[in-house]
């Protein structure tokens, strides 16, 4: 702006000088011209001075210079420190430590009142009881070596404490799609057996489906395997696929505790050899943790998909096969062949579980041929905050001419309906009340029994 003014003044002075020079009268008046030139010079000087002053004023009005880099850095440090101090307050109380091996577990206590009363199993249990005390460790050695060690203390039928090395498995993770385990593990058939097992607090219901109970509590399948297991899961097109394949020692049926009453009551139903041996209904599965003398193995698989379309849904199929020998003098051998399917839907509100098992067993020693049986359950629960009411229906139709079932103490057909209510006292403690109605079959004349039971359980995890 100042330069424009200076140019305008100079132009005006120049024009004035030209005008004067052009006039005939001015030619003689050189002194006046010089005077004008001096005035012009003074004006120019004045303009220069004014320009300088305006520049100074403009500088004075400019914003303050930015803080030095050192001061900015210090300010940033102070702010970062403030954030850290603020976070320490809330974070320190939730901090976990990397050192050491954390011990986790489950425990439960309860009260039961059963109306069971039949010549085979006698009277049902009534009164307070201690459930199981389950401890497990998950030490990991480096990036890929894993282990899982689980020790369970549980009360047997006589009220004595039994200690069980439930799992001792050591694994190596090649990738998410391939983790190899060796040792004793929960047999990965269906869903329930690996999902809950002794974890009473993490299963919605108080009880397991009876046919999926542990070997020594009424289960008709080998809930544990000693062997090798390859498992993994991988995403594909948004879906998630998983699998298990395993091989382990074939279980045997220990028939030390004979139940001749059962055989006598229901002689017509049982395999004649089993009945003749007087050991019908007295056996329980033994997973041969130290190996066996038969040298036979059991194999199985499990494959599932979690489709992207329905969050919380898992659908799977599974199979289990092996040669099962009992410890009786006859040493009956049965080719166990089980195939099954299951579906699980677990959302924030709903939990629906269903499993189905089909047995097509073949007698390898007595020549009684093949026998077909089946078992299944369907359970549904609805979570409304802390309360979760649930119901479950179970059914097992087990062929009594099949040595595999006939020899087992709990290898009888049955129906059961269960209704229960779970209340979560906090995320790690649950109180459950469960009522059930059971119809036992295949117990022979006068042996079939229908009874109700009520159970209360207080379970925790840690």
């Amino acid at each position: 702006m100042l330069n424009i003014e200076k140019k305008a003044v100079a132009k005006a002075v120049g024009m004035l000088a030209c005008a004067l020079l052009a006039s005939p009268a001015a030619a003689d008046d050189a002194a006046r011209i010089k005077e004008l030139e001096r005035k012009l010079e003074r004006s120019m000087q004045l303009i220069e001075n004014l320009s300088a002053k305006v520049s100074e004023l403009e500088k004075a009005k400019a914003p303050a210079p930015a803080a030095s880099p050192a001061a900015a850095d210090q300010q940033a440090r102070v702010e970062a420190l403030e954030r850290q101090v603020a976070q320490l307050g809330s974070g320190i109380s939730r901090r976990s430590f990397d050192d050491g091996i954390p011990v986790h577990g489950f425990a439960d206590v309860g009260l039961a009142h059963s109306g069971e009363h039949n010549p085979i199993f006698g009277k049902g249990r009534k009164g307070f009881n201690v459930g199981s005390f389950d401890l497990y460790l998950t030490p990991q050695f480096g990036d890929r070596v894993r282990s899982l060690i689980e020790l369970v203390f549980e009360v047997d039928h006589d009220g004595d404490i039994a200690t069980d090395l439930e799992r001792l498995q050591i694994g190596y993770a090649f990738s998410d799609a391939a983790v190899a385990w060796g040792g004793r593990f929960h047999t990965p058939y269906g869903y329930w057996n690996t999902a809950f097992h002794h974890g009473a607090q993490i299963q919605t219901s108080l009880s397991r489906p009876r046919f999926l109970e542990f070997e020594d509590k009424g289960g008709i399948l080998p809930a544990h395997t000693t062997g090798a297991w390859l498992t993994g899961a991988l995403p594909l097109a948004g879906n998630r696929f998983g699998y298990d394949v395993y091989v382990g020692n074939s279980s045997s049926l220990r028939v030390e505790n004979t139940a001749t009453t059962l055989s006598a009551n229901n002689a017509a139903a049982f395999n004649s050899q089993v009945s003749a041996g007087g050991y019908a209904g007295g056996g329980a599965l033994n997973m041969k943790m130290a190996g066996g003398d038969s040298g036979s193995y059991m194999t199985g698989f499990n494959a599932w998909i979690e489709p992207r379309a329905i969050d919380g849904l898992r659908l799977g199929v599974h199979g289990l096969g092996g040669s099962i020998t009992d410890d009786s003098a006859d040493r009956n051998r049965t080719r166990l062949a089980a195939l099954g399917a299951y579906g699980v839907f677990a959302s924030e509100r709903w939990e629906v579980l269903g499993e189905f098992y089909r047995f097509n067993n073949r007698d390898l020693s007595g020549g009684s041929g093949s026998h077909r049986s089946w078992a299944g359950y369907l359970q549904a629960g609805y979570n409304s905050g802390r309360w979760t009411p649930y119901v479950r229906g179970e059914r097992a139709s087990l062929e009594q001419k099949d040595n595999y079932f006939a020899v087992q103490e709990f290898g009888r057909s049955y129906r059961r309906f269960v209704a229960g209510l779970r209340y979560d006292l906090d995320p790690k403690a649950a109180l459950k009340l469960e009522l059930s109605r059971t119809s036992q079959e295949d117990l022979g004349l006068g042996g079939d029994d229908r009874y109700g039971a009520a159970q209360l359980q207080y379970s925790i995890r840690f």
Binding site: Q84, Q87, F97, T138
Partner: protein
């Protein structure tokens, strides 16, 4: 005087609380980790242990865990603990260790191959997997 200070603090807290709740967060990872934003949930619920040949080492940030869980994992701390209780019991996996705050997470992620964590402030120069 004391009451006035308390009142000012309360007002300030009321103003800052919602701001903190809507603050952004950043999932960061060690330079060796190459995962997609969609993998973060799978990593934090124990379904994804490896990224290629790299063993992932997720850590939780205790100071901002609730915000992260609700925005990214779509769950709350109680359910998150239950998820890991089941995962540990079934698969023998351990939950991510919990760090005390941004500084500790950033330090851990910076020096640990395979590490992945989340912070509440822009980590500047770190390997950011996703901003949430």
């Amino acid at each position: 005087m004391r009451n006035a200070k308390l009142a000012r603090s309360a007002v300030l807290g009321l103003i800052l609380a919602p701001l903190a709740a809507i603050a952004d967060g950043y999932v960061i990872a060690h330079s060796s980790v190459n995962v997609a934003p969609g993998d973060v949930r799978e990593i934090y619920v124990g379904n994804m242990q490896f990224a290629g040949s790299v063993k992932l080492v997720p850590v939780d940030n205790g100071a901002v865990q609730g915000d992260f869980l609700s925005k990214v994992i779509k769950t709350d701390p109680d359910r998150y603990a239950t998820i890991w209780a089941k995962k540990g019991f079934r698969d023998g996996l351990n939950p991510p260790p919990v760090k005390s705050g941004d500084a500790e997470v950033m330090d851990f992620v910076k020096r640990t191959p395979g590490a992945i964590g989340y912070v509440s402030t822009n980590p500047g120069g770190a390997n950011i997997i996703v901003k949430y």
